[in-house]
Point group: C2
Chain length 149, copies 2
DNA sequence: GGTGATATTGATAATGGTTATCATTATTGT
DNA sequence: ACAATAATGATAACCATTATCAATATCACC
């Protein structure tokens, strides 16, 4: 595990603890395990996958606990939900990362993360032109990735 | 009902019939009722809402039939699915319309249709820069609409 | 028009993912 | 230590969508 990730995990931990405290909630061993497992993985995990990973660490935990707490991680700004179709929701790291969009391969399902500040700017202009106050957005481009051609 | 819509319905009907035929499927009275009701509505309907509308016309129809055939309408290029969160899928007209994106109000749930060809162009460039062949995309901007401020 | 093959329908069951329930356990502040 | 409160985890409930299947309708062909 590279050093930068270690640091990020500690930072994120503090953010999570503060966020929980501000809502009168506690930082439990389960929450710690979920947070660490989630941040250590570089993948876009589902609750099911994360649940399995936490269990692998000899941690006795319930599915509901993982599902519930992933919601908290989202609310605390540490994770983001990725919903595609009717499939299981996946989560990606949000804390410490800049906003990005996704290229989604229709063959292999790969998520390629991209960013274009010009597009972001034009999106804001587009919203303004419609008297609309933008808060967040989702851009997904579906197609075929390099490997699948 | 304005004249242009009447014409559009007939055109769409032909497209639908051709699409069905090419797949060895039939154009039934239920399919006709669903198509007409769908195209006559200017709203983004759910299967449930469409089902209710068709029934209002003294048409005896089942929920499953509506759901099934909305899928066909999508496959035939007449309708588009709009999925937001875990809510019911909504459908909008696709045939005869140019592609557009949505501003979605977080308060009232309104869908405002917008289009920006510059954004589209940049999206294609972005995909190309990643050796990705784009097929379609989805851009949703969430925020607060004019009426809700 | 009749006939056999095939598609459609619609009531309902099954599915799949997410969320709610609730008794039990753990943690906190005093 | 105690009372108050939150967390957990097994499971049920929920909700939208999709599958099933017997009954019905439609088609192509004779």
């Amino acid at each position: 595990m590279p050093r930068t990730d270690m640091i990020d995990i500690k930072e994120a931990q503090e953010v999570f603890i503060d966020c929980l405290k501000s809502r009168g909630l506690r930082y439990t061993s389960q929450r710690e395990a979920i947070l660490e497992t989630f941040l250590s993985s570089m993948k876009h995990l589902t609750v099911e996958e994360l649940y399995a990973l936490v269990k692998e660490k000899n941690m006795d935990i319930g599915y509901a606990t993982v599902a519930r707490n992933m919601k908290f991680l989202v609310e605390c700004g540490i994770a983001d939900e990725i919903k595609v179709g009717n499939k299981r929701t996946r989560f990606e790291r949000h804390y410490g990362r800049q906003h990005h969009d996704h290229l989604i391969c229709l063959k292999c399902g790969a998520f390629i993360e991209v960013h274009d500040s010009n597009i972001e700017m034009l999106q804001n202009k587009l919203a303004e032109a419609n008297d609309f106050v933008p808060q967040r957005h989702k851009l997904e481009i579906y197609g075929i990735c390099r490997e699948c051609r």
